[in-house]
């Protein structure tokens, strides 16, 4: 490995980060791939722990051949000494270092996992953020009961640890993730009592033309649906979970039909016994690192140009962090970002023809997911399901009633004011779980949260961070 090669730090080893790493390394850039997990793959290609010695991990996955290609590409470049893959490194901040040498550089601050007490720093000439996303869950009474998990969480536990939380599950919410989650649980021996999707079949018909740009994706959805029928999973579209029941853990849910306006139809509630509820209402991008770097956001997403550059020189972004669109879009964006970063780090203008195919895929998939976004939407009046005693902020145990009082009686009109008055969003997760719900109850938009650190940092680590930079 020569020190003259430009050095790119890629953060996140999911589809976007892996595609970017392989593309950049193929063009002679030295890459450090920094990832929190013990194995590459991200959430989509989350691998079972190596010690579980799964001989058929592909049984839990889709597009396995794409994974094998990425994994082998990474291995080849690691062996050649062009890529260093840092596992169990939890990035808490990326810092721009102005005025060091001729070029500005970056310091990636990490904590070594799983304890996350000891720090490690990575210096690089440029940074590529492939930080992925996490799930949005809108509250309803009982959603804090043990046994209620996010749909993605149920899938992560299944893929990564080969465990499930019970024998009978209901999968509910809205979005394209619910189908694979229900299929995965059913294949793993869980009785899936119902798949409850708030979108009505009509809304798909309305968007037929937009969805038709991706016949492959539509067929994928149809395959999942057929698989669920085979497992005798009841599909309830135009329905929503209005309550989770149980004393110390989940025992049942009540599901009700929605009217065309997105309100629960009175008298339609039915109880379904289950010990697991996997629930999700879509995905949100992880943007903390980008925000601290000063990158512009477009709504909830990191802004990226045609080359996947953010508006901060030396910082690229790809995948879910620039807009939720699934693994195939993340691959295309990562590929483009890796190409662009490699060219620019070599001081040359990148040639867009080099990624023409990925560019077309990106255009097509963005259009497809924009259409999906219209189809999959939580019920229009979902805030009506949050009773005054429903806990909304899970960390600080702030209820819907307290948030409503802050808005109605104290005049709070934004997330920050509600937080100051009620502590909603002030706990361990820093509002990642409750922000959409608090925004809904407050009647304001989900503004950027400006979390200076992407995860809790020991004070000693914080005090010592960057000490070397003063030299």
């Amino acid at each position: 490995m020569t020190t003259e090669r430009p050095h790119l730090a890629v953060i996140g080893a999911g589809p976007a980060g892996l595609a970017a790493t392989v593309a950049a390394a193929s063009h002679g850039v030295r890459v450090t791939l920094v990832d929190a997990a013990p194995e590459a793959g991200g959430q989509f290609y989350r691998q079972p722990a190596a010690e579980l010695r799964a001989r058929r991990p592909e049984a839990l996955h889709h597009q396995w051949r794409t994974w094998e290609r990425l994994r082998d590409g990474l291995r080849t470049h690691v062996r050649a000494g062009l890529v260093r893959h840092l596992t169990d490194h939890h990035v808490w901040c990326v810092e721009r270092r102005p005025g060091v040498g001729a070029h500005p550089g970056f310091t990636v601050h990490t904590l070594l996992g799983p304890e996350q007490q000891d720090p490690a720093e990575v210096r690089a000439d440029a940074v590529l953020l492939a930080t992925g996303g996490y799930e949005k869950v809108l509250p309803f009474p009982g959603w804090t009961l043990p046994g209620v998990v996010t749909a993605g969480g149920a899938q992560a536990m299944l893929k990564g640890t080969l465990t499930v939380s019970g024998r009978t599950a209901v999968v509910a919410g809205t979005g394209p993730l619910l189908l694979p989650v229900a299929s995965g649980l059913a294949a793993a021996g869980v009785e899936v009592a119902a798949l409850v999707e708030s979108a009505a079949p009509k809304s798909f018909v309305r968007r037929t033309r937009a969805l038709a740009v991706e016949p492959g994706k539509v067929a994928e959805g149809a395959r999942y649906a057929a698989g669920l029928l085979r497992h005798r999973v009841r599909l309830l579209s135009g329905h929503t979970v209005i309550e989770a029941h149980g004393a110390e853990r989940l025992e049942a849910v009540t599901v009700a039909a929605l009217d065309p306006d997105g309100r629960v139809r009175p008298g339609t509630g039915r109880r379904i016994a289950c010990d697991t509820l996997a629930v999700g209402h879509g995905m949100l991008p992880h943007t903390d690192l980008a925000e601290t770097l000063g990158c512009r956001l477009d709504g909830p997403n990191v802004h990226a140009d045609e080359e996947q550059r953010t508006d901060v020189p030396g910082v690229w972004a790809a995948g879910e962090s620039t807009g939720i669109g699934g693994a195939a879009l993340a691959l295309a964006e990562g590929h483009i970002a890796g190409h662009s970063a490699a060219a620019r780090l070599h001081g040359t203008e990148p040639d867009p023809n080099a990624w023409a195919a990925a560019g077309r895929t990106r255009t097509r998939l963005r259009a497809f997911f924009a259409a999906l976004d219209d189809v999959y939407a939580p019920p229009a009046h979902w805030t009506e399901q949050i009773t005054d005693d429903t806990v909304v902020c899970r960390c600080e145990e702030v209820t819907g009633g307290e948030i409503r009082a802050a808005v109605a009686d104290l005049g709070a009109g934004d997330l920050r004011t509600v937080k100051l008055l009620t502590r909603a969003g002030m706990g361990w997760c820093q509002g990642r779980m409750c922000a959409p719900a608090v925004a809904g109850l407050t009647g304001c938009g989900s503004t950027a949260s400006r979390r200076p650190f992407a995860r809790p940092v020991p004070l000693g680590v914080l005090a010592r961070a960057g000490e070397d930079d003063t030299v």
Binding site: R53, P114, E135, A188, C395, C429
Partner: protein, 100 residues
């Protein structure tokens, strides 16, 4: 189809023992705290600071901090991230996990 381990044809090494509040729980090599507890049918291992309500796994990917637990005397560990070793002592975490 019976279990996720069968589905993925997992052939882990022999199980070992950890404890939850002193009670023995089996664990497989590679399992996290949350995985071993789920496999043993346990879904909560924390009570909240305010109402003392039970909590366990929610997001499963280290984002929500709902699955906090005390492992070998260290509170506030995320059960979904921490892998187990033979003899590990897991304790239900009450409130902040500190004696205050």
């Amino acid at each position: 189809m019976s279990s996720p381990l069968d589905l993925a044809d997992a052939q882990p090494g022999p199980a070992f023992t950890v404890t939850l509040d002193g009670r023995e729980v089996p664990a497989l090599p590679g399992q996290t705290v949350a995985a071993a507890l789920w496999a043993a049918g346990i879904t909560s291992w924390r009570t909240t600071r305010g109402a003392g309500r039970p909590r366990g796994i929610f997001c499963g990917i280290g984002v929500c901090f709902d699955c906090l637990v005390t492992v070998n005397g260290r509170p506030n560990q995320r059960a979904c991230l921490v892998p187990l070793n033979p003899g590990d002592a897991i304790r239900t975490q009450e409130g902040t996990g500190h004696d205050d």
